[in-house]
């Protein structure tokens, strides 16, 4: 099938061809936006013309989109406590580099930015980056504007009133939180070495939806981008070979530190 082949080829995405509702759901809006009469018409054009830009629009729309703030609260608890404290100690005053990969509409990276605003460990500064395959989604994420429906998924009322303003019928994240994040378009299948080393990488949204070979490659790329003793946070069901899982099945894994002081 055309869409499945495109997604596999460009981004390693696994698209089940029997899930027609998913195609309609994700690609219907793309077809309308691009001025086609319907999904069928757009797919025909894709077949006939081999339009590269359109092909990417399709792949991007099929890539997973984040849907909730503070998904898996226990994971955030471990990151906010144990992980950040360990990194702060290990890096000893240096800025921590944190990357949220496949950030979707930004709920995850914004959750992290709110957490850091509420209680960053003393004396710790964090460089927070977020990436996604979809430029369109990055734009939405960067705007920090969420619908009433979106802000009720995972976001406590206390945090809503603390970090958001009302904007017409939507809610917009406070500028001080938004501007803590740097955004860039990244395909995780590509060479990630230009981005340097990170102390903490989140990739919780995308691994489960990848073909096996692509998942292996993405995990390898991300693991390679971890600094010594850095952490990779994956989805609760995802494996992270070569890294050490923290207890509690929270999806947090650590790259074995080269030299680590062991408490007596």
């Amino acid at each position: 099938m055309l869409v499945a082949a495109l997604c596999a080829d460009r981004a390693g995405l696994r698209v089940d061809s029997d899930k027609d509702y998913l195609l309609e759901n994700r690609l219907g809006p793309v077809a309308r936006r691009e001025g086609f009469g319907g999904l069928g018409e757009m797919l025909q054009a894709l077949r006939d013309r081999g339009d590269e830009r359109l092909a990417w629009s399709v792949v991007e729309a099929m890539s997973p989109a984040e849907t909730a703030f503070f998904r898996d609260p226990k994971t955030f608890g471990v990151v906010a406590g144990q992980v950040l404290e360990d990194l702060a100690q290990r890096r000893n005053g240096q800025t921590l580099r944190v990357w949220v990969a496949a950030c979707g509409a930004g709920q995850e990276v914004h959750s992290l930015a709110m957490l850091l605003d509420e209680h960053a460990p003393a004396g710790v500064s964090v460089d927070l980056c977020a990436s996604d395959l979809s430029e369109r989604r990055l734009e939405k994420a960067r705007s920090g504007v969420y619908s009433q429906f979106e802000v009720q998924r995972g976001l406590a009322a206390q945090r809503l009133v603390r970090h958001f303003d009302k904007q017409d019928e939507n809610f917009i994240l406070a500028q001080r939180i938004r501007q803590a994040v740097r955004w860039r378009r990244v395909n995780l299948l590509e060479d990630l070495t230009p981005f340097g080393q990170f102390d903490l990488i989140f990739c919780r949204n995308v691994l489960g939806g990848l073909l096996d070979a692509a998942r292996t490659q993405v995990l390898g790329n991300l693991t390679g981008a971890l600094a010594d003793g850095g952490y990779l946070v994956v989805g609760l069901g995802d494996a992270a070979p070569g890294l050490t899982a923290l207890p509690g099945e929270v999806g947090v894994h650590q790259a074995e530190p080269g030299r680590r002081a062991v408490a007596a």
């Binding site: 909730a68 009720q152 998924r153 009322a157 809503l160 009133v161 958001f164 009302k166 019928e169």
Partner: protein, 121 residues
């Protein structure tokens, strides 16, 4: 089994909420106005209350204020569930001691998430 009292003057909303809450394992009671809700609480304090704001007679805010003055009235987790969606309203509800806040329309995921955040699940 945990109990949840649904306070809303709309029978339809009470029915929708009841179905969601029963799926989450709650025993559900219903009240159509504030007086009925407080009478219910005086008899058997629920574990959680889903509370509408705008109702004929007593407002949800007034129900909450009176509830918190009752013996044992601190215990229930109170989650507003209302069409009011201004941040100042939400601040007001939290200041009165609400544990969480749902803006209508809602679905099962939102209710489950908010109950969990309130510590009622």
């Amino acid at each position: 089994m945990k109990t949840c009292l649904v306070v809303d003057d709309s029978r339809v909303i009470r029915k929708v909420a009841r179905r969601i809450l029963e799926d989450l394992g709650f025993a559900v009671a219903e009240a159509a106005d504030g007086a009925e809700a407080l009478a219910w609480c005086a008899t058997a304090m629920p574990d959680a209350i889903l509370l509408d704001w705008n109702m004929p007679g007593m407002s949800g805010l007034e129900v909450l204020r009176r509830l918190r003055l009752e013996p044992g009235g601190d215990a229930p987790k109170v989650i507003f569930c209302t069409i009011e969606n201004e941040l100042d309203r939400i601040r007001e509800a939290l200041a009165y001691g609400a544990d969480e806040y749902i803006m209508k329309p809602f679905d099962g995921d939102i209710v489950a998430g908010k109950l969990a955040m309130a510590g009622a699940l």
